[in-house]
Amino acid sequence: MSKNIKFVQGNEACAEAALYAGLDFYAGYPITPSSEITETLAYRLPQIGGKFIQMEDEIASLCAIIGASLTGCKVMTATSGPGFSLMQEALGYAIMAEIPCVIVNVQRGGPSTGLPTHGSQGDVNQARWGTHGDHAIIALTASNHQDVFAITVEAFNLAEIYRTPVILLLDEVVAHMRERFVVPQTGEIELVERLKTTVKQDVDYHPYLPREDGRLPMSDFGGVHRFNVTGLFHDMWGFPSSDPAVVHDLLRHLVDKLENRTHQLARYKEYYIDDAEQLLVSYGSAARSAHHTVEDRRSRGERLGLLELQTLWPFPKEIVREKCSHVKSVVVVEQNMGQIMQAVKLAVDEPDKVFLANRIDGSFIAPSDIMNILRVIQGKGV
């Protein structure tokens, strides 16, 4: 069978992957630089009997997909910085009510309207802490279209396994760049389907009573079990409760189900780490320049390695600590003011050996930007 090769934008690769993962329902609102995802799915979804709706704003889009998810659909929305800000309250709802959904944020320069057509990675901490209250979240990213495809499918899988919103943090560079990738054959990437309850009709179903393995089997709205879903703290029936024991246990459950599985949730790629003296840590489009720099310096005999993170949250602390343990210095390459650098500093044994190579002016970070920092660290001057 011939390969299905495409040469498209990253946004289109993301949309293709969502369809591969079994997307049934999409709601979105136009915003640069994510609109191609919405446009692609407006065209493709009805062809397979799926549902697409352009809502009146971004928070309505997230609300609509949460509603659709409760009927058993695999759902997604996509937006960019300002729209992601507008979604935050509904994001907290999806966390609290444990609704599987995928939210793509194609990052652009911020704050506010910022730089609509320029790249940035400034929403990393917003993905983690944007919605109010203690919580945990899964946020994934990728640096090239093949990986965008795989990580998008992964986002759908993790949303189902953990009954949680999953944030896909793309950025303008990957989203708008055209690049070759191969659409995997059916079955090539494993798909996780929704875990449905086996409780029979007329038998009490507890929507928020976890199984022994911590998972919560679902029952579709419109099916034989009727239950309540709320953003308030709630008991196993889904009914509001402010009983301190109920509140404590639910909050611990929401946080622990992800934070205690940081290792299983970690997705990353590594290049030349074993014998590296210096290590770059990067992700998303910035990792392309980091990778280029590593290949270039290796060809000149320099022992430089790269850890490319694909799971940003929960932060793979132990893996980062271990990979950084034997190197003299670590340079975090990112297009913000050090959001992941702070997490790396917290993870490693010697935070003083962690440096930042960044750009915050809307320009794509170049290998020369990284080299400038490396030269300073190596004592070779500016």
Partner: protein, 267 residues
């Protein structure tokens, strides 16, 4: 099925104050559903935040208690995904028309088959008596110690202008009319808006010296009249009750089915 069979008695007592009109709305709503003979599994009730929105907890349907103002957006997702389900969205006046105003007009514009019930007590009760976009002028509220200067929306006119294809108004005094209107609203294919004037003796009543719950219900009786009645001609200040709009227009989910057919042909 008796009305009590639609209730989740496990979750009683409810949190509404003595004299609150929302329990009467719950009764009217369940009365309408009972008359229609709908099965509990085919009803999804979606609400936002506020006193009114707690209604979802007490009914034995598929219930979704969401965030402030966004109930119609959640309901739109449920309805699009499963058009065969009956969507009922009870909202308070602030929930529906302040924070939720945008979703309200767009749901009406789409004519998606959802029954929106605005439980209008002209005040934010749960947060302690602040004025709402339906309070109107010269109302006393905890955020209007010198009385309101904001004109109120007319829910009926707003819903009509936005494109709702079923628009009605009733009150907690007129329980039989309420049941009948809600029944017709649920049957109607398209976006239905039912405004129900409901009393909040705790905040609106106290702040505005409107008396107790009985006085407030009496006020609904005295100050409203049937659409186009002789009384209205004689006293134009009376507020009209009844069905203002009941018309056919393509329903959103049915129209989307046509989009799917078109897209599938084009493959």
């Amino acid at each position: 099925m008796a009305i009590k069979d639609y209730l989740r008695e496990r979750f009683f007592p409810h949190l509404w104050c003595p004299g609150c009109g929302h329990g009467t709305v719950l009764n009217g709503l369940l009365g309408a559903i009972e008359k229609l003979g709908l099965s509990k599994n085919e009803i999804v009730m979606v609400s936002g935040i506020g006193c009114s929105s707690r209604i979802t907890g007490y009914v034995d349907f598929h219930t979704l208690h969401t965030i402030h103002g966004r109930a119609l957006a959640f309901a739109t997702g449920v309805k699009m995904a499963r058009p065969e389900l009956n969507l009922i969205v009870p909202m308070g006046d602030g929930d529906a028309l302040a924070i939720g105003g945008n979703h309200f007009i767009h749901a009406a514009r789409r004519n998606i088959d959802i029954t929106a019930i605005v439980m209008n007590n002209r005040i934010y009760g749960m947060t302690g008596g602040q004025y709402s976009p339906l309070s109107g002028e010269n109302v006393s509220a905890t955020t209007a110690p010198y009385l309101t200067i904001d004109p109120g929306f007319d829910v009926v006119e707003l819903a009509k202008a936005a494109g709702a294809t079923f628009v009605a108004r009733t009150t907690t005094y007129h329980i039989q009319q309420m049941k009948d209107i809600i029944r017709q609203a649920i049957l109607h294919e398209g976006f239905s808006v039912v405004e129900i004037l409901s009393q909040c003796p705790t905040y609106f009543g106290r702040k505005n010296k409107a008396g107790d719950a009985v006085d407030m219900i009496q006020h609904f009786k005295k100050n409203t009249t049937s659409i186009g009645s002789k009384a209205k001609q004689e006293n134009p200040d009376l507020l009209e009750r009844g069905i203002f709009v009941q018309k056919e227009r393509p329903e959103y989910c049915s129209e989307y089915d046509k989009v799917v057919q078109k897209a599938m042909k084009g493959r």
